[in-house]
């Protein structure tokens, strides 16, 4: 399974890209295994991942056991700072 992950703000600048592709051997991928694969395939992300929320289809994922499906829109949400 191959998952595209959108990046924003500081994370986008650190990785110099707004989209990362993560390759996983499993057919069923949990958010926890996505985090692990991101860490392995993009070591530069490692210091940031613990502070990052994962969003799937524009919703925050609260459980690391949640499973991803083909075609899901996945994003890393670094600490947010909206408003004034």
């Amino acid at each position: 399974m191959e998952i595209s992950v959108q990046l924003f703000a500081g994370l986008r600048e650190v990785m110099e890209s707004d989209l990362l592709t993560v390759k996983l051997d499993q057919d069923i991928v949990s958010v926890a295994s996505l985090r692990q694969a991101l860490e392995e395939q993009y070591p530069k992300l490692k210091p940031y991942l613990s502070g990052v929320a994962i969003a799937v289809n524009e919703e925050y994922i609260l459980s690391d056991e949640s499973e991803l499906s083909d075609g899901d829109s996945v994003a890393l949400v670094p600490p947010i700072a909206g408003g004034s």
Partner: protein, 145 residues
Amino acid sequence: MIEIPLVTENVLDSNLVRSLIRTDESGAVIVFEGVVRNHHEGHSVVRLEYEAYVEMATTQILHVCDEILSTFRDREVYEVMIQHRIGKLEIGDTSLIVAVSAAHRADAFEAALRAVDRVKETVPVWKKEWSIDGAQWQEGIKPKP
């Protein structure tokens, strides 16, 4: 009700938002504006640059509106509307509008305050602070959905 973009690079229009949320039952209308200020944690700021995950920010803003209406459903809060501006904003520009209409002022104030807090906790927006020394992303908070 006419549809307006909830996350936009355009100048926010508080009069328009007010007209969209006021109802004949409303005795109180709050239109809160978050405004770009010239300082942050003791240093000066010359402008802010906002970035959003636009699709998700729009979805999360709608969740905040639903959440507030549901929380205050027994307290005659009628309408909630939230708009966030993105892009480069200068000092004095409005970056956020949170507007609430209710029968009574106490409920309107409380609902508006709660809505602003929930925007800050859930809507994926980031801001880069420009000062005379350059630009850096402002430290944010981990989302609390």
